[in-house]
């Protein structure tokens, strides 16, 4: 059982939870993730990236968007409540090195797992250009924390409500056109964004790491549900990743695989909304 120590709502459907997980807090490194299960009997196992950790407090920070049953259940929890199962830290840590100039691009919720990587890259002595993008101003998260670390921070929104009205690929391309060009790029965000970021850096041959968030069951290499095609080879995101060379990932296949259970999820999600609404009404009626 993992007690929730702190909760914040970062935007309409994005939540931050700080939960007790002393061993994971000690061992985790940038780039790693956990598998979370809200109910051991019938709950699903979903991968969530670790946004931060505090070994002294024995806690890890999870940031998630409410998209399916489990994330909705987690979003409805309060400080003092518990999460039944958290397994981790999983996956290979990010390769942190002294590259020179690193451009880190975060889209939407992807900004959360990007944060510990930016932290580690900064600590390793790199110059950091951070690009954050979202649909609108209210969906930009962790801006202050990123600003504190970045040598240069660029914000874009799709609707122009904050920062530049652009997709992240625009400033990314401009950064790549600079002389000297960046030495390393890290992108975390929705698959479609990572795909186009990889296309943006490809002509400039800037090495580009992407962090993939696929469907998983065990998260330890046992099921292979998370497999992706990288450079023509099958890789498991859970044990070979989650980070891969963005120039080699078959994003189209990955996106199709992510939609494998879409119909089921929508039905479960709908039921979940009904249940949560019913619970709220019951609470209000008491």
């Amino acid at each position: 059982m993992h007690r929730i120590l702190h909760k914040e709502q970062l935007s309409d459907d994005v939540f931050l939870l700080r939960v007790e997980a002393p061993l994971i807090a000690q061992e985790r490194q940038a780039g790693q993730f956990v598998i979370v299960q809200a109910d051991n009997n019938f709950g699903e196992r979903i991968p969530l990236t670790i946004a931060d950790a505090d070994p002294a407090e024995g806690s890890i920070t999870l940031v998630f968007q409410t998209v399916g049953k489990t994330t909705h259940v987690l979003g409805a929890k309060a400080v003092g409540d518990s999460i039944e199962s958290i397994l981790g830290p999983l996956g290979r840590p990010t390769h942190i090195g002294q590259f020179g100039t690193v451009v880190a691009v975060g889209g939407g919720i992807g900004v959360a797992p990007l944060y510990p990587i930016v932290q580690a890259m900064k600590k390793a002595g790199n110059r950091l250009i951070v690009i954050l993008g979202a649909r609108n101003k209210s969906l930009i998260i962790l801006e202050d924390k990123m600003r504190a670390l970045a040598d240069e921070l660029i914000i874009t929104t799709d609707d122009g409500s904050y920062g530049r009205k652009a997709l992240v690929t625009e400033p990314l391309k401009e950064v790549c056109q600079r002389d000297p060009k960046p030495d390393q790029c890290v992108v975390i965000g929705p698959p479609i964004m990572m795909k186009f970021c990889a296309e943006a850096t490809r002509p400039f041959m800037v090495p580009t790491l992407v962090s993939l968030n696929t469907i998983m069951v065990d998260g330890t290499g046992m099921c292979g549900g998370c497999r992706v095609t990288v450079g023509g080879e099958t890789k498991f995101v859970c044990v070979d990743g989650p980070e891969f060379d963005g120039h080699k990932v078959d994003f189209d296949n990955m996106m199709r695989r992510l939609r494998a259970y879409k119909n089921h999820e929508e039905a479960a999600h709908h039921q979940c909304h009904l249940d949560l609404e019913a619970a709220k009404l019951r609470k209000a009626g008491q």
Partner: protein, 497 residues
């Protein structure tokens, strides 16, 4: 094939038993007793439920089957048993109506009789050399030792379970056991008995390993696995779930920082093999591990309650010929697929699956396609599986496994229309422990290298057994390995430190 009801099998056995009452049975008389059929749910019924297929012998059937045993002096069956259960003795006890005595005899050597009675490949182990089977010229007519083992252990469970094994006074020594499958359960029990503290680490949210996530309810009820785990808890074994050694804690830290005196690695063969053919990452292609884990451990078949989704399948192809392939095919039947095709590139004779599983699968309507294999998997514009391009094979010369090598027939390509492909061609060892544990020696397949006699790895105080050493094998072999490693650990910890 007509389905004999459990009731009719019991009545027939009672009559036959009465006819033998008071007779001194010659070997010829014993061999004339008809082999007792296992009562089962009818194929029609079981296609629609997850309940156990084999229902177990009645006492009359068990006694009659046990009377078929010739009590051979040289007991070839014992040599066929990886843990050398005193088979003639326990079979005789059942024949004499001494069921409690029978289970006590089994328990001397086996820790998991209810499991092994159900999932051991008896026809290639204890029942293969059985004199009765040899005399009747068919291993199918050997004494059904496995069914008798199951009978004795089921009676024991019905009467309140096995007595809690005695635990010696606490020694103050501590042992970490990694994984909670059959090898680990065995080690935990054997080491705990000696009075050492045992902590068992499991990555999943429930302990039991392959017995839980892999073998389906209809072949091994989860209740049985839970009882075995409960027995460990009653002995004082501590179980840590959601704990992945190598990630949550490094193996070497267990000894260096956490004060464990020895470690057993029983993490199994948990990395699914794929065929490496075109189209394998299309939507609708699953490893058997994923398919079975969703249905078994995550209980996805219970669509009203479970959050874990299942892929809706109409026509399923299962690739492979082992028990896992049979489990997957039979699971697909139960999950409502209209057609389930089992595709294997050799013939039925080479299939590693238990004979009983093969015949159960056929009874349930699984369609067998021998000497065929897909060359690529085909998909549509949405990336969904639409079929497989298959080729035919003939059998050539035997290969290194001793089985005849399948040889492709030229120009034999044909199309098989399916929307789901389940790959059940085996598992490799999970790389996690070896990647995160410096100095741990592995072979080229990634299996841990251990000393044959002791189960010790290349690291001091670290032992291993089961599929992580053997490659994908069986429950009973894992248990045998566990016994050996546990004996070594107990010997190590008995030395004055």
């Amino acid at each position: 094939m007509s389905h004999a009801t459990p009731e009719s099998l019991r009545q027939d056995a009672e009559k036959a038993l009465e006819a033998l009452q008071g007779k001194r049975l010659s070997p010829r008389d014993r061999m004339a007793i008809p082999p007792q059929e296992m009562p089962t749910q009818s194929a029609e019924d079981r296609r629609g439920n997850m309940r156990e297929v084999a229902l177990g012998y009645s006492q009359a059937q068990a006694r009659l089957e046990a009377l078929r045993c010739l009590q051979c002096k040289n007991a070839p069956c014992v040599n066929g048993c990886p843990v050398r259960i005193d088979i003639p003795a326990f079979v005789k006890a059942i024949a004499d109506g001494q069921d409690a005595e029978a289970i006590a005899l089994i328990r001397r050597n086996s820790l998991l009789p209810a499991v092994c009675g159900r999932v051991c490949p008896q026809e290639v182990q204890c029942q293969a050399p059985c004199t009765v089977g040899k005399a009747l010229k068919s291993v199918d007519k050997a004494v059904s030792i496995g069914r008798l083992e199951r009978y004795a252990s089921d009676l024991e469970r019905a009467s309140g379970g096995c007595p809690k094994p005695a635990v010696k006074p606490e020694t103050g020594k501590r042992v970490a056991v990694i994984g909670s499958g059959p090898a680990s359960i065995t080690v935990a029990a054997d080491v705990r008995r000696e009075g050492h503290a045992v902590t068992l680490y499991e990555a999943f949210h429930k302990p039991g390993g392959v017995l839980l996530y892999g073998i389906p309810e209809f072949r091994l009820p989860k209740k049985i696995v839970e009882q075995e785990i409960d027995a460990l808890k009653a002995m004082g074994v501590v179980i840590e779930t959601n704990f992945l050694i190598g990630r949550t804690r490094k193996l070497q830290d267990l000894i260096a920082k956490d004060g464990f005196d020895a470690v057993f690695v029983g993490t199994g063969a948990g990395l699914p093999k794929f065929m490496n053919i075109e189209g394998e990452n299309l939507v609708g292609v699953f490893s058997a591990n994923e398919y079975l884990t969703r249905a078994n451990l995550m209980r996805a078949y219970d669509t009203g309650h479970a959050d874990t989704p299942l892929f809706k399948s109409r026509k399923v192809a299962v690739l492979g010929g082992g028990n896992v392939a049979m489990d997957s095919a039979r699971m697909a039947v139960r999950l409502g697929a209209q057609e389930v095709h089992l595709v294997y590139r050799r013939t039925e004779a080479e299939m590693p699956a238990r004979v009983e599983e093969v015949s159960h699968a056929k009874e349930e309507g699984v369609l067998f396609h021998m000497l065929q294999n897909p060359r690529r998997i085909l998909g549509n514009e949405f990336g969904l599986v639409t079929g497989m391009e298959c080729v035919r094979y003939t059998l050539g010369e035997p290969d290194e496994s001793g089985r005849r090598r399948p040889v492709e027939v030229p120009d034999s390509a044909f199309l098989m229309e399916v929307d789901t492909v389940i790959v059940a061609i085996g598992n490799e060892s999970n790389p996690l422990i070896r990647q995160t544990t410096p100095g741990l020696a592995v072979n080229r397949r990634g299996n841990l290298i251990v000393e044959e006699a002791t189960g010790q790895t290349s690291l001091d105080r670290v032992y291993a057994g089961g599929d992580i050493v053997l490659g994908a094998a069986t429950v009973i072999l894992a248990m045998g390995e566990g016994r050996k490693a546990a004996a070594s650990i107990n010997a190590l910890l008995a030395q004055p430190s």
